[in-house]
């Protein structure tokens, strides 16, 4: 469905994308996971025919994105990271405008956006600028879907959206996937990566790993220790100096420590902090642990 081969793009001295390769199958929900500045938006803009790469090819459904951009524009729905609809037009006017410039009508493709549309309907005549963040995302998704694209490109659709709306949004994506729409979505939230069929971890313009979420986790060869205790900062500083510890990061209210299974972390911590109440347990790695370690390895 989508083949990205060897895409590179520089902005002056800055290399935003450095030889990106991946393929997305028809009907797949593909995630691009990476921190801000990883190059996700540049990649989306290249696929969406908004930006020319310095080198490399992108083909969508057998059509070259660079030369056959008209085909791509007709069949791809793109939702930029920044809310890009007309804030001074109402919900209805936005939908109608985007439908008409694709030579279609809202009615014709209503089934695709049916459940989103039901939520938007009470706000039909409200200006897009006056909608809440979650509603704005829903409207943007509707507008990107209004011409019945075969592939959706969603650039950080859930950034800045509350937890409930995020959940709802991913629910909608699953339903769209059932309709047979291929979806490429980027997110800085690693918990969302579990909801994708396959994910590519991107850092500094390069793909560090690409697999199913469980595949990526299974390859992780370190043991994860979850350490809970008072005075996290002191704990973390101490742990980082210990032999055999590869990495340690704060994870919410606890610390995740990565190292070999023979670390004996619990015993050694009791030695250093005899009075403190410290709990250490070994937990299964998840994608976030994997990503944090990949990032560090890359920097070293």
């Amino acid at each position: 469905m989508l083949t990205v081969s060897n895409i590179s793009k520089s902005y002056g001295e800055v290399r935003a994308l450095n030889g990106i390769n991946f393929e997305v199958d028809r009907g797949e929900l593909f995630g691009l996971i990476g921190p801000d500045g990883a190059g996700k938006t540049s990649l989306f803009r290249i696929i969406a025919t908004l930006l020319l790469p310095d080198s490399g090819d992108v083909s969508f459904d057998g059509h070259d994105v660079i030369t056959d951009y008209e085909f791509v524009r007709k069949n791809v729905g793109y939702m930029p990271g920044r809310f890009s609809l007309y804030q001074d037009l109402s919900v209805k006017e936005n939908l109608e405008f985007f439908a008409t410039i694709f030579n279609t009508t809202v009615q014709e493709n209503k089934h695709l956006i049916e459940d989103i549309f039901k939520q938007l309907e009470p706000f039909q005549n409200r200006r897009a600028g006056d909608l809440s963040g979650g509603m704005k995302q829903k409207l943007a998704l509707s507008c990107a879907l209004i011409h019945k694209p075969t592939m959706l490109l969603l650039d950080e659709p859930t950034t800045g959206v509350d937890a409930i709306s995020r959940k709802e949004f991913w629910g909608m994506l699953q339903r769209l996937k059932k309709e047979g729409i291929t979806i490429v979505v980027s997110t800085p939230y690693m918990d969302e990566s579990k909801l994708c069929d396959r994910v590519a971890l991107i850092q500094d313009g390069a793909i560090m790993d690409l697999d199913t979420p469980s595949g990526i986790v299974n390859r992780f060869d370190k043991t994860v220790y979850k350490v809970t205790g008072n005075n996290q900062y002191q704990l973390l500083s101490k742990i980082r100096t210990m032999d055999g510890v590869q990495n340690a990061y704060p994870f919410g209210s606890s610390l995740h420590v990565y190292g070999s299974p023979e670390l004996n972390l619990s015993g050694r911590l009791d030695e250093h902090f005899p009075d403190a109440d410290i709990q250490v347990e070994i937990i299964p790695a998840d994608i976030e642990d994997t990503f944090m370690n990949l990032m560090t390895r890359d920097h070293e």
């Binding site: 803009r45 020319l52 930029p80 890009s84 804030q87 001074d88 037009l89 006017e93 694709f102």
Partner: protein
């Protein structure tokens, strides 16, 4: 092209929904017309005039009394001393002085050529011109035969002949000259500013991203963006002319359809210019400053405040590339002089060519995809 009506519909909704835009489009120009046309009134009164009368005859005294009764002059000193008068001019105690030679009365009676000399402080060229013009009128009214008034510009050479343009504005009513000029400026501002800002706005708020991934074509987008302002600017001219007629009673001698046709072509230049600016700026602020830069040059060098003939020759050459100067000229020619199509055909050609060039560059420069 079947998308165009929908794009236009959206543009008009947005323009008329924008609470800041409507006053800018309709109220501000009218207020400006009312203020500027009254303020930019170059009529000069109470010119301080010294007279050196060597003749001291009944004729010379009659001429002096004509000056004394004119509302334009205030005769401040009458003496004989030429040198003293020059010094008074130098010290800026007077604006001009008139020398009546001792053979004035004799020459007048014997039908000889009569010579008078008028020295004018030429620091302010506009004022010097007017001083000369008013004085020449009084002298001509005194004895129609005195045609040769020698005039020496003190610091600025002032041409001797009365400019032909004044013929079509016999009372030298500056409003008749200013109102068409100000109308030109207003129509230009609305056309260039609003069009450049409107496109850049899409860039600034990011909506252009969403638009660029649609199958909308470059030409559809550009026409969709420019057409509303083309219409609005023409309406603006209509409103301006109505107010000019009702309030300032400016003459409308020539054909209005001709004037509107020319404006229609002229607007293509300014809208194209706005489009061009919007292709290389990214925020409304940048677009506004670049537009201002050009507009100020266009307007100041457009012949509205300083006659182009009074500019140095290098500056006159620059005005060849100034669309505003052609528009001001055509507005005056058609409104005041009643020029027909044949008289302004040349301007049609020049402005049409400009429109073609500017829009070609702008369309070439507008890209849906970035390198």
């Amino acid at each position: 092209m079947k998308r165009l009506p929908f794009i236009l519909k959206k543009e008009f909704i947005q323009i008329f929904r924008n609470k800041a835009m409507l006053p800018i489009i309709f109220v501000v120009p009218i207020v400006q017309l009312l203020i500027l046309a009254n303020a930019a009134d170059f009529e000069i009164r109470n010119i301080r005039l010294d007279i050196s009368d060597a003749d001291k005859s009944a004729d010379s005294r009659e001429l002096i009394s004509k000056f004394e009764h004119s509302p334009f002059f205030e005769v401040s000193y009458i003496g004989q001393d030429y040198k003293g008068n020059i010094e008074r001019l130098d010290r800026r105690e007077s604006d001009a002085f008139l020398t009546i030679p001792d053979n004035f009365s004799h020459d007048l009676k014997s039908n000889h050529e009569v010579k008078l000399k008028l020295d004018v402080d030429g620091i302010d060229g506009q004022k010097a011109n007017l001083t000369y013009f008013y004085a020449a009128n009084i002298i001509r009214g005194f004895r129609p035969r005195i045609n040769n008034i020698q005039m020496l510009g003190k610091k600025f050479p002032v041409p001797i002949q009365v400019k032909p343009r004044y013929w079509y504005n016999p009372e030298l009513d500056y409003k008749n000259l200013m109102v068409p000029g100000i109308l030109a400026v207003l129509v230009t501002m609305v056309g260039m500013f609003l069009s450049s800002m409107n496109i850049v706005r899409e860039k600034e708020i990011g909506t252009i991203e969403q638009l660029n991934v649609t199958p909308i074509t470059k030409v559809e987008f550009i026409i969709g963006k420019l057409f509303p302002f083309w219409v609005i600017s023409l309406v603006e001219l209509g409103i301006g002319l109505t107010f000019g007629k009702l309030i300032f009673d400016i003459p409308i001698v020539g054909s209005l359809p001709l004037l509107f046709s020319f404006t229609a072509v002229y607007l293509l230049v300014m809208l194209g210019f706005g489009l061009l600016i919007s292709t290389f700026t990214h925020t409304q602020q940048q677009a506004m400053f670049v537009s201002w830069f050009f507009l100020v040059i266009f307007i100041l060098m457009g012949g509205l405040f300083t006659a182009i003939e009074n500019m140095p020759s290098w500056a006159q050459k620059i005005t060849w590339f100034n669309p505003v100067s052609y528009f001001i000229e055509v507005l005056r020619l058609v409104l005041l002089k009643g020029s027909g199509f044949n008289d302004i055909m040349r301007y049609f050609g020049i402005v049409g060519a400009m429109a073609l060039v500017v829009n070609s560059i702008a369309i070439f420069n507008y890209k849906k995809r970035q390198g």
